[in-house]
């Protein structure tokens, strides 16, 4: 086996699992949960699952501007417990998160709860064993849990976003441990999400910096208006990040039963977006009452996003397309909203090794 390149630090540690966990913690490594030791053999096996130059820099991870080489991403994937077959998803996710439109630096350092969300679409989800059904957001599925965790560990270790240091998140979220799921295309009445975003590929990946999921339950409505009114009410919350961010997006993960109710009435994905844009609104008087120092509207608001009278209704999001609609989860009358903190998600084709 080849020796690791000189720029990678290696240590000899007591291999007792309890001692290892203590050694990791003493060095400020990890998310607090046990990790798999990233030995040469395990890292090489991980790298073999996504052929390419191990020293290729997938991105510079802020705020530390750490070099996310394939090798160091593999190290973190081993730590996370990834089976090697999901490693191509992890590398694709890191590459996508480092794109400038994602604004990872802001998400890493903010006081807000932005997490690193990963959604797997299409053939890759089934081929690699991702969960798109019951228990969508966890726990229990190895591919979901370890992929999300590997991405988080890269952001933590390589990016330096440690709580209180590089990351100033006031509260954090459980989604910071792992936040990966698959789209339930089989249960979706519409085309796959990535195709609706113009990605013509068998598999795709979406990454974003969303908050953890906010559940919406609606066990009574039998029509789209009822279901979507419930969801809209969960979006139009004065104390939420989306109410004040003005340019953000919200992912709406419709449970299959809610999706069937909506599509069964002939509604398209675009109809859902338009309805939510129209109905997820806040009263202008309430927004003004929460603006600082009687200075008028929140300075983050675009000039058009103002009212004349207190009862004028102001849309929470500035465009219907900012509602990203997909289906996920199992049976049961629940859906979820996944708001972002103001930055962009990206959807990219996902190439798997043959």
């Amino acid at each position: 086996m080849q020796e690791a390149p000189a720029q990678y630090e290696q240590l000899d540690l007591d291999d007792d699992p309890i001692a290892l966990q203590a050694a990791y913690a003493a060095r400020g490594w990890g998310d607090g949960l046990p990790m798999i030791p990233p030995t040469d053999a395990r890292v090489e096996a991980m790298l073999a699952a996504d052929p390419g130059d191990p020293e290729e820099v997938l991105g510079l991870v802020p705020p530390r501007l750490g070099r996310a080489t394939r090798r160091i991403v593999a190290v973190n994937a081993v730590l996370a417990g990834c089976p090697p077959q999901v490693f191509p998803v992890v590398t694709a996710a890191i590459r996508a998160l480092c794109r400038p439109e994602v604004n990872l630096k802001a998400a890493q350092t903010t006081t807000g709860p932005a997490s690193a969300m990963v959604i797997v679409h299409g053939e890759a989800a089934e081929r690699l064993g991702y969960n798109s059904g019951h228990g969508l957001f966890g726990p229990g599925n190895v591919a979901n849990a370890t992929t999300g965790r590997a991405v988080r560990l890269v952001l933590l270790h390589v990016g330096g976003a440690k709580a209180g240091l590089g990351s100033k998140k006031t509260l954090g979220q459980p989604s910071h441990y792992s936040y990966c799921f698959a789209e339930n295309i089989a249960a979706s009445p519409w085309e796959p999400f990535h195709r609706s975003r113009g990605i013509d590929a068998a598999s795709a990946l979406t990454v974003g910096t969303q908050e953890g999921p906010h559940n919406t339950q609606d066990h009574f409505s039998e029509d789209p208006v009822g279901v979507l009114t419930s969801i809209a009410s969960n979006i139009a919350v004065l104390g939420s990040n989306q109410a004040w961010s003005a340019t953000t997006e919200v992912y709406v993960v419709l449970g299959p039963e809610h999706a069937a109710t909506i599509a069964g009435a002939g509604w398209t994905r675009e109809d859902v977006q338009m309805f939510l844009y129209e109905r997820a609104r806040l009263r202008w008087g309430d927004i003004l009452a929460r603006s600082p120092n009687d200075s008028g509207p929140n300075p983050n608001f675009a000039p058009w996003r103002v009212g004349e009278h207190p009862d004028d209704s102001i849309p929470v999001l500035h465009h219907p397309d900012r509602y990203r609609i997909l289906v996920g989860g199992g049976a049961g009358k629940h859906s979820a909203i996944l708001p972002a903190g103001g930055w962009e998600s990206v959807t990219v084709p996902l190439q798997l090794p043959s």
């Binding site: 000899d12 490594w29 030995t39 600082p292 120092n293 903190g341 103001g342």
Partner: protein, 93 residues
């Protein structure tokens, strides 16, 4: 014993040039780069106005990033650099 990789890897080194502070006095031109957060404007404006008052200088020049989470537009930074000697910036909430 087990030999393992450290998980952090290397980082890009950033070379930053720190300029000396301009001399304090009535000629000091002060600017504010407001980050659009709710309290930043109040804090920065109050601070800048008090500085200007103590030094006997002109009122501060106020400009805004537009969005808190994105860098300031290049043009705005250039304009400020031409108009002032010292800029107060908002880096938090």
């Amino acid at each position: 014993m087990v030999r393992i990789y450290a998980p952090e890897g290397t980082a890009e080194a950033q070379a930053l040039t720190v300029h000396p502070l301009p001399p304090a006095g009535p000629a000091l031109r002060i600017g504010i780069l407001h980050n659009n957060k709710a309290n930043a404007g109040v804090l920065l404006t109050t601070l800048a106005e008090q500085m200007a008052a103590r030094l006997g200088g002109a009122a501060p020049v106020l400009t805004s990033k537009g969005r808190a989470s994105l860098p300031a537009p290049v043009g705005e930074v250039a304009r400020l650099a031409a108009e002032v000697d010292l800029v107060l910036v908002g880096t938090a909430d």
